[in-house]
Subunit: 482 residues, 2 copies
């Protein structure tokens, strides 16, 4: 496993990072980066030089970014020089190129030093770290995939729709043949059967993880420690403490960790959010009913005495964490974190919940959940308020939002129907998610990232409480208890 | 208020009641009547006479009943004599006629004594009490109504469909003009503005109570104490201890108390019960979703700052006890008493729950409730199992029971559609309920009565726990606490 805070030249080095947060605030920029973790910038010059450094950085923030491969870094150094042509910087010492190819790469990439020198060769400052979170670059993010299931295919297809943000760089599978087959399907040339090898690739900047739930934590931890952004399929981890640890690691390594909740990025969910919270079409909220119950063909395996991963305690499975997170996330994104929650499961032969009903308790209303992989429902999502009911076709892939007036019963369609992205499972549409996550990373939208982090933390706490309250305990609960 | 165990001649005196319960059991009759409460029969004869009395009663049980007005009692005494013409009974002393008309009746009706004499004028036994529960008579039950709302009209209309069981005898209202108007609407000649007066009427055998919830207890208590059968609209009482007291009183006075849950008497509910519990069309049960949420026009009054009875704490109102009892009753009737339950209400300006969501917890599944008088839902009732889902149009007035196969999604209608009774609100159809309650009283079906009692006790315990757990407390909760 890569050590913490490893440095290699593939990371984006955003000069803004050494500008103090107070200065950023004065500039009206609300980003609050923890510069103590972001960069170790040594300024060995006098006060004047320091002041100069601040100005340089301030200008550079708007003008240039050091990014990408050694070649690109070199060229972008040129752009910095060009952009600040009248400044006192005359040279930079670019970082060393990577020492090995992906298949032979060391797990400890070479350290990166970028020194900015004044005309008299006295150092202005030297960047001695690599791990930086944000960038104003529009360069697409080279990413790898972990997992070769349909959801990974969906992710890749979505990324292909957003080539300005994402570029598939490599795929990982424990099995070389699986990796090769999957890579070939997606015109990808680089495969890895070792995570160490994958993460040693200096080009690689992000990893999409869609492995079985119980593997998420260790894989994400390794990726974050290696300084890669991580998009982690839901449920991010088995326990909330594991997720806390991953977010801690992401900050320590100045990379982004995002849980892949696609549905709250969808156009019509955002529209619904606005209708409820800004337009107040319902008036005060009186509650919601959020069903997500659909028979899974893998439940047939359970009935046949098998234990598919998603129905396995060891793999962190069950209906709540697999499909229940959609309505839980929907509720938390729409109404905030509940005061408390409860869950009454139907435990199947494998020991997990094949289904269950539950309630999220808010200050003056409840949200009813009905989640299942063992039966199906015909009920739709409903949100209740003083003025009426919003009837929505589901928590995901929203194509209809009907307002039903409480008194008159009159109905009115409020969805932006023209903006619905068509969804054909199993290739679900992740385009809105992929676009937004790419934007957050590329634009360095710390506020948006922070909101997603808070959402993920709230959701795992809710589902963990529901799950443990119902006596559904994973092996991870022992190691990562409350 | 009438004293406990008052006696008057209008009660049916079923001779079977003095036959010991052991004898009834030997006869294969499963009725278990508490004869110590049923009758005080003094047999002041020798062993031979006692034995004879037993035989007489055994025969009389199948042959005759003393019932109705003094005139009818007299004529039926004749029939007893005719039926047992060869016996040793030569005379009976019929009870005194009522001393006053309904409007001037004493609150303590005259005591009733029926003495059976042998030829030598030695008494065989004397009946000294009036209150008897069951009868084999097919004579329709003269009943009064308390309450003049639409639900009372529905009850009367239903009774009119079952004239062999019920006959409207009198109506009660605090206001004479209301009583007179209501009585005229239903071709009823007798009105009362005092409960004492109503209950002193010796012809009256049963009372249908549909007053505001908070009045149910004291009114039912008075009716039962006066020896009248009571059909009590749901919710029977505000607290479970109140209901316990009413059932105790009903036994003490050997009359029947039935809570008017019409929906579980409906043909298609009974059909559904059979499908789920006998035919096992779903296999093992995995849960249910039972919505009963419909905007009430009286919630408009609440929004306008008023406090209609059904939204008043003082009157024992709120969505849970008003409409929530339907799904709760549905669940308890179908699945039995839950292990535990919870409720998350939306409290409105008057302090009661205008709506709420909750869960009933069973051994390996949960039942989700969604009840409201402040919003409407489009969701239907669903019951889930291993083999699929039963989709039902509602908890009441069931006209459709669709089985949806879990795997194939194929649908099949299972309701007895031809047997659905048409329902036109506000005149809801109570015919099946009215027919069954009449049958229980007239046939003396103690087993059916007992089942209804257990159901009512379970339901009030569930709703009381949900309500108190959610902090919704009535004045009655102070006096009749847990």
């Amino acid at each position: 496993m890569a050590s913490k805070g490893t440095q290699h030249p593939s990371m984006i080095v955003c000069l803004q990072s050494i500008v103090s947060s107070s200065k950023l605030s004065r500039d009206g920029n609300e980003k609050r980066m923890d510069t103590s973790h972001a960069l170790k910038a040594k300024a060995s010059a006098d006060d004047e030089h320091l002041s100069c450094a601040g100005d340089l950085c301030s200008r550079a923030r708007e003008e240039a970014v050091i990014t990408g491969s050694p070649k690109r870094i070199a060229s972008e150094h040129e752009s910095i020089r060009a952009g600040i042509g009248k400044s006192t910087i005359v040279d930079t010492v670019p970082p060393s190129p990577p020492s090995s190819s992906p298949t032979t790469a060391s797990t400890t990439p070479p350290k990166s030093h970028i020194s900015f020198l004044l005309k008299n060769n006295s150092p202005l400052f030297t960047l001695t770290t690599t791990t930086l979170t944000m960038s104003s670059s529009n360069a697409p993010i080279p990413y790898a995939t972990i997992g070769t299931n349909w959801i990974t295919t969906s992710w890749i297809h979505a990324c292909n729709q957003v080539p300005e943000s994402w570029t598939l760089h490599s795929v990982y599978s424990r099995s070389q043949s699986t990796a090769s087959t999957f890579a070939a399907q997606h015109n990808c040339k680089t495969t890895h059967t070792s995570l160490d090898s994958l993460l040693a690739d200096p080009i690689l900047r992000a990893v999409y993880i869609a492995s079985p739930n119980s593997l998420h934590f260790t894989q994400a931890r390794q990726c974050l420690s290696a300084g890669k952004h991580v998009i982690l399929e839901k449920p991010a981890t088995c326990t909330s403490k594991q997720l806390d640890e991953l977010f801690r690691l992401s900050k320590e390594n100045n990379v982004v960790l995002i849980e892949a909740f696609r549905h709250i990025r969808e156009h019509n969910f955002l529209h619904l959010h606005k209708l409820v919270n800004e337009d107040k079409v319902l008036g005060p909220i009186y509650g919601a009913s959020l069903p997500y119950a659909s028979y899974s063909s893998r439940y047939t395996n359970v009935l046949n005495g098998e234990t598919p991963n998603i129905f396995s305690l060891d793999f962190g499975g069950g209906a709540l964490v697999d499909v229940g997170v959609y309505p839980v996330c929907f509720a938390v994104a729409l109404f905030g974190t509940p005061k408390s929650q409860s869950y009454t499961p139907t435990i199947c032969a494998t020991g997990v919940d094949a289904a269950g009903v539950g309630t999220l308790q808010y200050d003056n209303f409840g949200v009813a959940l009905n989640v299942s992989k063992a039966y199906s429902t015909s009920s739709v999502v409903e949100i209740y308020g003083e003025k009426g009911t919003l009837r929505v076709n589901g928590t995901t892939d929203i194509s209809s939002i009907v307002f039903v007036d409480a008194k008159s019963k009159e109905e009115k369609e409020l969805a932006d129907e023209g903006k619905c992205l068509k969804v054909t499972k199993p290739d679900v549409n992740m385009e809105e998610e992929v676009r937004e996550f790419g934007r957050i990373i590329l634009e360095g939208d710390e506020q948006a990232r922070q909101r997603l982090e808070e959402l993920s933390r709230a959701i795992i706490k809710v589902t963990e409480s529901m799950r443990r309250g119902a006596g559904i305990l994973y092996p991870a609960d022992q190691e990562w208890g409350a």
